[in-house]
């Protein structure tokens, strides 16, 4: 029997070792990405921090680095994100509600589902071409904020729809039955119970989607957002520029100063992103608490 127990022990040690190696591997992967991020942030701050002042935020672009600023791009991005949110949230959530609650589950809904999942993986430049053809040319919206926002909305709709559907799916069926058993219609049930209960999950999806939109450059370049804008957009039909485009523009110039300006722009972009996400997370947590 002694033989047996030693084999067992040896085996056990081996299994423990395996699990330790695996844990170490996972930890290393996680931390390496964190380290990479920290290095990146550090590099960006070192380059850009000295340019970051009110003058930078409150000035239009210029060919003199000392006078160049990010005002038009920042305002353009804020406009763009607001418009994208206004367009994509209602459309995306409605589509998700339709697919989950109202559509009869069959081959067609299955097909739509597969297609949405595929659309989520389409490169953003393709959406840019689509936006150029449809919104800029066909609908003659020109190179306006609206064209940009519509194109960006197309780009992030699949993400919003998929996340919203997942959130709606997690609403317990018992809540729906409770509502139906009180003589509620489908609309009443959906509006009063399904939507509020899935709100936190939908918000998570929206945050992720908008974060993606705020950083996208390719579709905007494609539909022709301008790179040098010395005015502020005053309505959705005005031409515009956005932070990523301004950053891209500065990076592609040969002078070192402009590279540093790009770094400062990146800091501004990250700050906007962070602000936006934390607001959304705050709203989400607040509603989550109210529901418990």
């Amino acid at each position: 029997m002694a033989f047996h127990s030693t084999t067992e022990h040896r085996n056990l040690a081996k299994r423990h070792l395996k699990s330790k190696v695996f844990a170490a591997f996972c930890g290393a992967v996680t931390w390496s990405s964190v380290v990479l991020l920290v290095v990146l942030l550090y590099q960006v701050s070192v380059d850009g921090f000295r340019w970051l002042d009110w003058q930078f935020i409150d000035s239009f672009p210029s060919r003199f680095p000392e006078r160049a600023g990010i005002k038009s791009a920042l305002v353009g991005t804020i406009w763009l994100i607001l418009l994208v949110a206004l367009i994509s949230i209602p459309v995306g959530v409605s589509a998700a509600l339709y697919l989950e609650e109202f559509a009869t589950k069959g081959r067609i809904s299955k097909m739509i589902e597969v297609n949405i999942a595929n659309l989520a993986g389409v490169p953003s430049i393709v959406y840019g071409i689509l936006g150029l053809a449809i919104f800029v040319r066909y609908f003659a919206l020109e190179r306006s904020l609206l064209s940009g926002a519509l194109t960006m909305s197309l780009l992030i709709l699949p993400v919003i729809i998929i996340a919203s559907r997942e959130a709606i799916k997690t609403v317990p069926v018992s809540i729906r039955y409770a509502a139906y058993s009180l003589g509620a219609t489908k609309w009443q049930t959906t509006w009063a119970h399904v939507l509020p209960a899935s709100f936190p999950g939908i918000m998570t999806g929206v945050i992720l989607a908008l974060s993606r939109a705020i950083g996208e450059t390719a579709p905007l370049v494609m539909i022709g957002a301008l790179t040098f804008v010395a005015f502020l957009p005053e309505g959705p039909m005005d031409s515009f520029t956005a932070l990523p485009i301004q950053i891209y523009n500065w990076v592609s110039r040969p002078q070192q100063e402009f590279h540093e300006l790009a770094a400062a722009g990146i800091i501004v972009l990250l700050t906007v992103l962070l602000l936006m996400n934390s607001t959304a997370i705050y709203i989400r947590n607040k509603t989550e608490k109210r529901l418990r």
């Binding site: 589950k105 317990p172 018992s174 809540i175 729906r176 039955y177 409770a178 509502a179 139906y180 058993s181 009180l182 003589g183 509620a184 219609t185 009443q188 009063a192 119970h193 509020p196 209960a197 529901l291 418990r292």
Partner: protein, 268 residues
């Protein structure tokens, strides 16, 4: 088959009948899940202001039958009902009938308490407000909670979340919520199976009081419960209605051997 049995048992109750005392008549009801027949040709009447219990082993079709009464089966894919369920002189599955209206008049309490994640107050008022209730909401809330014997426990915290209540309280809230709709029939699908004995006793007492104003149909796993609280009992097995009779009779001198075996605990 059933009609004969009732006659044999010698109770002054014949079948099929149009009885003014019945609020609901099930006539040859069969329920299918796709091709699978879960309830087979069941007929019996549900009497006004009485408690009717449906008992039987798991999977006998009793919950399916109960859910067909307020058209909750509509939400199950592939479910189909044949036969007639006559309520207020109309077949509940007739073409003219709106399932939403059916559910307004025939309420339901589920196996697991399922209050809305809202305040106690809003749990009660939501249903009535949906169909345009115009009376005093405060009175409605107080009356419904009193009917459900919950008022004294919660009157100080009506605006707190219903999810803070205990399981038994939540179930009584669900009953109050159903009562606020002033249903003509209240369906209860094993309402005590997720509750402790004290909460169960509470709910059973409550049902006694409620039958004065309401008609109750309860599905239960617990035979003692059926014997304690119900006036009529339907015993089902494998989708068939084996016996329907006055409860006392079912539990003392059932006419079918299978019923006797079940109520005495020899199977199931």
């Amino acid at each position: 088959m059933m009609g004969e049995q009732v006659e044999q048992s010698g109770v002054s109750y014949s079948h099929p009948i149009r009885n003014r005392k019945s609020v609901l008549e099930l006539r040859n009801v069969s329920i299918y899940y796709d091709e699978n027949r879960a309830v087979k040709d069941v007929s019996f009447n549900i009497r006004r202001n009485r408690i009717t219990a449906i008992i039987g082993p798991s999977g006998c079709g009793k919950s399916t039958l109960l859910r067909s009464i307020n058209r909750m089966n509509d939400f199950v894919e592939g479910a189909r009902v044949e036969g007639e369920l006559i309520f207020a002189n109309e077949d509940l599955y007739g073409n003219e009938v709106d399932a939403v209206e059916v559910r307004r008049r025939i309420g339901m309490v589920f196996q697991k308490p399922n209050p809305f994640p809202k305040s106690i107050y809003n749990n009660i008022t939501w249903g009535p407000l949906n169909y345009g209730y115009e009376g005093s909401l405060d009175e409605l809330v107080e009356r419904s909670l009193k009917q459900a014997a919950l008022w004294d426990e919660v009157k100080g915290r009506l605006h707190e979340s219903a999810l803070n209540l205990s399981g038994g309280q939540q179930q009584r809230l669900c009953i109050a919520r159903a009562l606020a709709m002033e249903p003509e029939v209240l369906l209860m699908d094993e309402p005590c199976s997720a509750l402790d004995p004290i909460s169960t006793a509470h709910i059973e007492d409550l049902m006694f009081q409620l039958k004065e104003h309401y008609t109750i149909v309860i599905v239960t796993h617990n035979m003692q419960q059926a014997a304690r609280i119900s006036d009529y009992t339907a015993f089902m097995e494998m989708g068939d209605l084996i016996e329907f009779n006055v409860t006392k009779r079912i539990f003392t001198r059932p006419s079918v051997q299978r019923t006797e075996q079940y109520v005495t605990g020899r199977f199931g």
